[in-house]
């Protein structure tokens, strides 16, 4: 039984990161209707920005993390202004192709700037074990889960209590009506992309400490898509829950069956949920008036 809970703890930690990346994805999709296939690569970008901060610019960890997030936010805003704003009104397939192209460009740029070999952070967040109720949880796992919980709380407050958050919710509901109400939709889109990119980069920052800094992190970022779909494409708490579920399923499958079977279980569960609830666990069915 202890082994089961140990797998669950490990799954919650890595699932928190999937949830963060999925949260960024949902934020962008909910506000702008853009299905951003580059979201996983933004996780990798965050990891490499942190590496640059601590290894190249010799910053202590916390300032390096903050600098990485700020740079990621600026990159997200730039992406919206330069790439996605001109795509408003264009066919969906065209926009999807643009995000795929962006994904490949980010991957290639990372390899050109940082090289293709794996790297480790010269100093890392603490990772020693802590004993809780007979289980071993590492300090880093606790930090990861805590950061994710804080992000969920912060976004909940942001969307409910802040003027900008309300504007984003209004824009997500109906862009035309919100513009008619005087909301600057372009500003909302910029904020959505900036925050979505920064959140994904935060996932990369945590992953760089949990693992090594490698271009292969993009493959982990890809799991944000099933996490977002599982939780509900327009649900922010759903993104986090979806990520946690994916992480736990992965760990349990690896522990009780084999590493190769993990994806079978992850996508099998996704398939089963979508057959029953196509809009995801926390999503809402869309109703169109005819």
């Amino acid at each position: 039984m202890a082994a089961f809970f140990q797998y669950v703890i490990g799954g919650l930690a890595v699932g928190s990161i999937y949830g963060l990346v999925a949260l960024g994805f949902v934020l962008i999709f909910k506000s702008t209707d853009v299905f951003n296939f580059a979201q996983g690569d933004l996780l990798t970008l965050g990891a490499y920005l942190l590496f640059a901060g601590v290894a190249n610019w010799k910053l202590p960890m916390i300032p390096a993390i903050l600098v990485s997030l700020v740079i990621a936010l600026v990159i997200g805003v730039a992406m919206q202004v330069i790439v996605f704003r001109p795509m408003i009104g264009k066919p969906l397939l065209t926009v999807v192709m643009v995000t795929i192209a962006l994904s490949l460009i980010i991957k290639a740029l990372i390899q050109v700037i940082f090289g293709t070999t794996e790297k480790t952070l010269p100093h890392q967040l603490p990772n020693d074990p802590v004993h809780i109720l007979g289980l071993k949880v590492s300090e880093l796992e606790l930090i990861t889960m805590g950061v994710t919980a804080l992000c969920v709380l912060a976004f909940a407050l942001f969307f409910r209590r802040s003027k900008l958050g309300l504007q984003m919710r209004a824009t997500a509901e109906n862009v035309e009506a919100s513009m008619l109400s005087g909301i600057d939709a372009n500003r909302v889109f910029m904020v959505a992309f900036g925050l979505g990119t920064a959140i994904a980069a935060l996932g990369g920052v945590l992953m760089a400490n949990l693992q090594t800094v490698t271009p292969q992190l993009s493959a982990l970022g890809l799991l944000a898509f099933p996490a977002a779909v599982l939780g509900g494409l327009t649900s922010i708490p759903g993104a986090i829950v979806g990520g946690l579920l994916i992480g736990v399923i992965q760990q349990l499958a690896t522990g009780y069956v084999s590493g190769q079977s993990a994806n079978v279980f992850v996508y099998g569960v996704l398939l089963a949920v979508l057959l029953i609830r196509p809009w995801g666990i926390f999503g809402r069915p869309t109703v169109a008036r005819v």
Partner: protein, 425 residues
């Protein structure tokens, strides 16, 4: 009707073109075999040799999951080639490296190899380091009689039986397992050990797993856990948990450095102090850089070559060469040293092959290598008609976090008695 006839004509033309291409490629391969099997046939551009250049192939993982270990290997190899070219080349010919990216995938590795047989022909190839790709390529290498020299991994299929054109540098996994098991049993005073295994899902992982199980059983010990990790995976939490809960005396690791690093991070989370010892593939700077000293001190690996921290004349030369050709960052990695020795071996073989360089004469040149001195980086390299493994000795290494240097544990000769030569040689 008109469109149907146009389609028919197009299909006919396409079939003719494919047939012509197939005939052309079989012609070129038979020509290549003919000239290389002629025993003293003249140098030919069809085998990558012109009056002033020698095309030599280097295939390694440039962009895939194993770049961490394979790029330093490639850089070590390139160092020797650059050095030979700066000294005037081989018999008046400069060596031109033709690079291929195996990307850690069998189809990409095979495609890169096939290009070097006929499209951009080479006189020999080094690399194809991933065991799964190597196993897939070996039948083609044999068919083409392509000299294949010194990859990072030595697979059983390439040694048993000995293939005419296949020459390894690194001792086979059978010898590596003999040394690491013998060393740990003695160091921990566990004559009948309980052993855990952590290995890749690649074919070399299967080979190492089988070797460890057979050897441990022979000693009267037991394998208490056997965990596998995919080469593309980056988390080993579940595997580490199963290994730790089985309470082994030590864990044998066979993975790439990335997976070794992931395992060490997971062991750190679990607070484990179980000793880990890796084959050559899983060692190097990356695993030690990933964790603090309290965890890294539990990890050792075996290798047939020494990193530049261990000072000998050969090491000093290797460091100087690395600095000159821009590879200083890689020189502390044992993988760089393997590539450096492989490069030295190839250069020596090309010299032995003489002016009339063909694939066949290169094979003869390789078999002439006897006690090639590496200046203390490794034992001398030797081949014969029946022994195509250049280095037979390997020893364990550890990392000293205080001095930030790698240290050898004993001499190569301390471990030769452990080796049973299960694959011959």
């Amino acid at each position: 009707m008109q469109s149907a006839s146009r389609i028919g004509i197009a299909l006919s033309i396409a079939s003719l073109a494919l047939g012509a291409a197939a005939c052309g490629s079989s012609d070129s391969s038979s020509n290549a075999s003919g000239s290389s099997g002629g025993g003293g046939g003249k140098s030919s551009p069809k085998e990558g040799v012109t009056s002033n250049t020698i095309n030599y192939g280097l295939i390694y993982d440039q962009t895939g999951p194993q770049t961490a270990s394979q790029t330093p290997f490639a850089h070590g190899f390139m160092t020797q080639i650059d050095k030979a070219n700066d000294a005037g080349g081989i018999n008046g010919r400069k060596i031109k490296l033709v690079l291929g990216d195996e990307k850690g995938q069998v189809p990409d590795g095979i495609a890169a190899y096939k290009k070097m047989v006929s499209q951009t022909p080479v006189v020999g190839i080094t690399g194809i380091n991933s065991s799964s790709i190597q196993e897939a390529a070996l039948p083609l290498i044999e068919k083409d009689n392509m000299p294949f020299v010194g990859p990072q991994s030595t697979v059983k299929e390439g040694l048993v039986p000995v293939h005419k054109s296949v020459f390894y540098i690194v001792p086979p996994y059978a010898d590596q397992v003999d040394v690491l098991l013998g060393y740990e049993q003695k160091a921990l005073n566990k004559p009948k050990p309980k052993v855990g295994i952590f290995r890749l899902t690649a074919s070399s992982g299967i080979e190492v797993g089988d070797l460890v199980k057979a050897a441990v059983k022979k000693e009267g010990g037991s394998v208490v856990a056997d965990q596998q990790m995919d080469v593309t995976a980056t988390s080993a939490d579940a595997q580490a948990q199963k290994l730790v809960s089985a309470h082994p005396d030590f864990i044998v690791v066979h993975s790439a450095p990335t997976q070794s690093a992931a395992l060490l991070k997971s062991m750190q989370k679990l607070g484990s102090k179980i000793p880990l010892i890796s084959t050559f593939a899983g060692g190097g700077p990356l695993p030690y850089a990933a964790v603090p000293a309290s965890v890294g001190s539990t990890f050792q690996y075996t290798a047939p070559t020494s990193p530049s921290d261990i000072k000998t004349d050969g090491q000093a030369q290797m460091e100087a060469d690395a600095s000159k050709y821009g590879y200083s960052k890689d020189v502390t990695d044992s993988a760089y040293a393997i590539g450096y020795i492989s490069g030295l071996t190839v250069v020596n073989a090309l010299e032995n092959a003489g002016k009339d360089l063909t694939r066949e004469s290169l094979i003869s040149g390789l078999e002439k290598i006897d006690n090639l001195d590496t200046g203390g980086i490794s034992e001398p390299v030797s081949y014969s008609a029946t022994d195509h493994v250049g280095l037979s000795a390997t020893r364990p290494y550890k990392y000293n976090y205080s001095t930030k240097k790698f240290e050898a544990i004993g001499e190569f000769s301390d471990y030769t008695s452990y080796i049973t030569h299960a694959y011959g040689g």
